[in-house]
Every structure is written in C-alpha cells, then in structure tokens.
Symmetry: C2
Subunit: 228 residues, 2 copies
Amino acid sequence: MSIIPSPFKPLAPPPSRSARTRERILKVSLDLFNAEGESNVTTGHIADELDISPGNLYYHFRNKNEIIHHLFSDFEKQIDIAPEPINDAPSAMEDLWLYLHMMFERIWQYRFLYRNLDDLMARDAKLRSHFNIIIGHKREAIRGMCNSLVDAGAMRATAPMIEALAENILVVATYWLNYENLKHRAGIRDDPKRHLTRGVYQVMRLLAPYLVGEAKSHLDHLMDHYTS
Amino acid sequence: MSIIPSPFKPLAPPPSRSARTRERILKVSLDLFNAEGESNVTTGHIADELDISPGNLYYHFRNKNEIIHHLFSDFEKQIDIAPEPINDAPSAMEDLWLYLHMMFERIWQYRFLYRNLDDLMARDAKLRSHFNIIIGHKREAIRGMCNSLVDAGAMRATAPMIEALAENILVVATYWLNYENLKHRAGIRDDPKRHLTRGVYQVMRLLAPYLVGEAKSHLDHLMDHYTS
DNA sequence: GTCTATATAGGGATAGAC
DNA sequence: GTCTATCCCTATATAGAC
C-alpha cells in the first residue's frame, strides 16, 4: 500500500502472471478432481472452468499426469507428519484426537486420491511407492504409540494384537471417507466436517478396548461427548 | 451316455449356441475386469479374448453396462446371505470364521466391483442402491450377532460399542482386499488365498476384545492357529 | 449368430499464430 | 503466455452383409 520504499528487500518476489496461472490450474484441478473424480475431469474441463484455452494449460503442464503429481506432492508434504511422542497418558488421548482430526482433514482436502486409489496407484509407480512409504510411516507411528502406552501402563495388548490393531486403524483411516460417501451419496449431502469427526471416533473406538486406567476413562469421556 | 431313452424329461435343455456365447462373454468379462480393472477393459478386449467380433458381443448385450449389471446380479445372489443364528457361543466362533471366509471368497470372485466402488456406484444408481441394501443387511446381521452374544454372556459391550464395531467390521471387510492390493502390488504377487484368510483374521481381531469366557478362549485359539 | 465396416464422440496433446 | 485450430487415438455402439 505504501509508496515509501521499504528498506528491506522483500523475501519473495510477487508472483508472475505465469506463476499465478499455474497456481490457479492446480487449485481448480484439485477442486474438480475432488468434486467429480479424477477420471471424470478432462483437461478441457479444467481449462473451461478457468476460462483459458487447452493450449495454455499445456503450456504450464506437460500433461494431466503432471498436475496429479504436483497435487500428490503437496498432499505428501502435509500428511507425512508424525504425531507428538506420548508424555502422560490422559493428555495423550487428547493429542491423538487432534492429530487424527488433522490427518482426516488433509485426506478430505485431497480426497480424489483416495476415491480411486487402486487405479491411480496402478497407473503410476511413483505415486504407488510414495503412498506405500506414507502408509509405512503411519504404521510405525501407531506401533510406537501403542508400545509407549503399554510401557506407561495405559494399555494392555500383546504384540500380535498391536500388529492387527495397526492394520485395522490404517484400513479404517484410509477408506473411511469412501465408506461414508457410499452410504450418503444416496441421501442428503450433509456436513462434511461431520464425516471427519466420525472418522476420528471410529478409529478411537478401535483403540479403546485395549486401554486401561486413566487413559481409558479419559477416552471414554471424549467419546461420550461425541455420541451426545 | 446311454442311448436308452430316459423315462424322465430332462430338467434343463442343453444350452443353445447363443446361450453358450452369452455365458462365455460373462465369464471372460469377469476375469478381465478382475485382472485389469473394469475401466481398463473395453468391449474390444473382451471380444478379442473370445475370438469373436465386437458386433457379435453387441448382439448378446446392448452395452458394456448390461454385462456389468448381470455380473453384479450374480454377485448379489451369492453375497446377500445371512449367517447362521448363534446357538452355543464357542461353536459360534467357528461358524463365524467359516462364514466370513465364504464372504471374502465371494468378494474375491467379484473383486472388480470393489476396486472402484465409488466410480461404479456413482455411474449407476441401481448398483448403488442394491449395494447399500447389501451393506444394510450385513450391518443388521452383525448387530444381531452381537446382541445374541451379549445375551449368551459371551460378549460384553454397550450399544454404542456395538454400533461402532459393526461399522468398523464393514469398513475392514469391504476394503480389505483393496488395502492388501495396495501393499502387495509393489512386490511379489503371493497366494490370494492368504489375503482372504488374513481378512478373516483382521475382522476377528475387531471382535475379540469384546468377548469373554469360552467364546474368547475359543477365538484366541483359532487366531493363535492363524498366527503360527 | 456372427462378421466386417463404419459412424460417432470424446479426450489427450501439439503446432504455430499472436 | 495465451489462443485457435487441429491431429491422433481410442472406445462405444450400430448397420447391413453373410
């Protein structure tokens, strides 16, 4: 706003026209992919929505796959974050609840990736391997958390129980939105935020039976609050 | 084999040439859909595989969607079967194990339906509504089974626990093969039967924490047998 | 019932002018 | 950077001969 020259060099130059179009393409692509499903969105649709020509789109991205790759890369940065290590067990339940909610939010933001996981991953080896790395990190995080809880006396579970629990948590977290969508597509499209909280709740229900003591009662309290 | 005329009228006439081609189309379509994914299989591929012309295929089926509908209808007949009601709790665990295995086998047989559930159901309202009915029946069956187990003193769970458990069982059962596929596509393609048994195990692990008494020890025994 | 040939449509991607 | 025009390819589906 000010016309007085700043004594500080700006940290980032203003985005060029080109960079802005590029960003707009990414944003609109994400929105359309999420709304219609990636395979139902053509480069033509994207260009139309932006009021630019198909040729222009192909100036910014070599092909449709490159758009998907950029979006996946953004997703990866946001999802591949470990939860806080556990200090005291009761507050760990609240930390976990928040962490899960954050993860579900990010899955929701990039839900087109989850809609047709199989197809996308089959088409593209790089996506597949990166997605498997993410899942692997999550599996490790869950294992670590469970072991911490066991050590802290907040959880009772054998190693095979923890292994199976980790897999079940991953399945439910990965496919929860798909499952909800299946049910609700028929009826009224209700608040998406509700889906996310519901997903957190379902995952917590998987963990709950193995908890003991304060952690258990604390989680029960959190879940009661949800049910009401 | 015998040339002596049978005194009984045959129950079904031998299939006509037309009926045979029709059946062959359905069989090959199912195989290709399962192997490559429905959206990657064209009517041309199906005709090629059968060494018939595309025109011939369209003589037997109005379009590709009609083939999918027939396959779905076969699937529906086989999957929409309720488990046996529970008599004594320990043997119920074995019945359940077998029932789940049968269900997973049938999902495996028609796994192309599960690969892109979202797309298929979004395209076709009839498929969607029927699939939701199937899921609804399964949900009811799980609820009923849990209540029986609680009444029999073999299970300890509140109503909200049972509700959440039913949903989690449905998610894991519905998406287990997809999840396994995600992991294993990268590496060696191992025995598919293993995937099915693994799915049964994962579902049983969801149920296990709520069991008490003989049912619990019986299921523990079954699961130990799996782990070894 | 089965074939060949073809109509129709749509999507991905490029060339070249501006 | 952006546009117009167009090419190429693939998939669904049909027409009409045999």
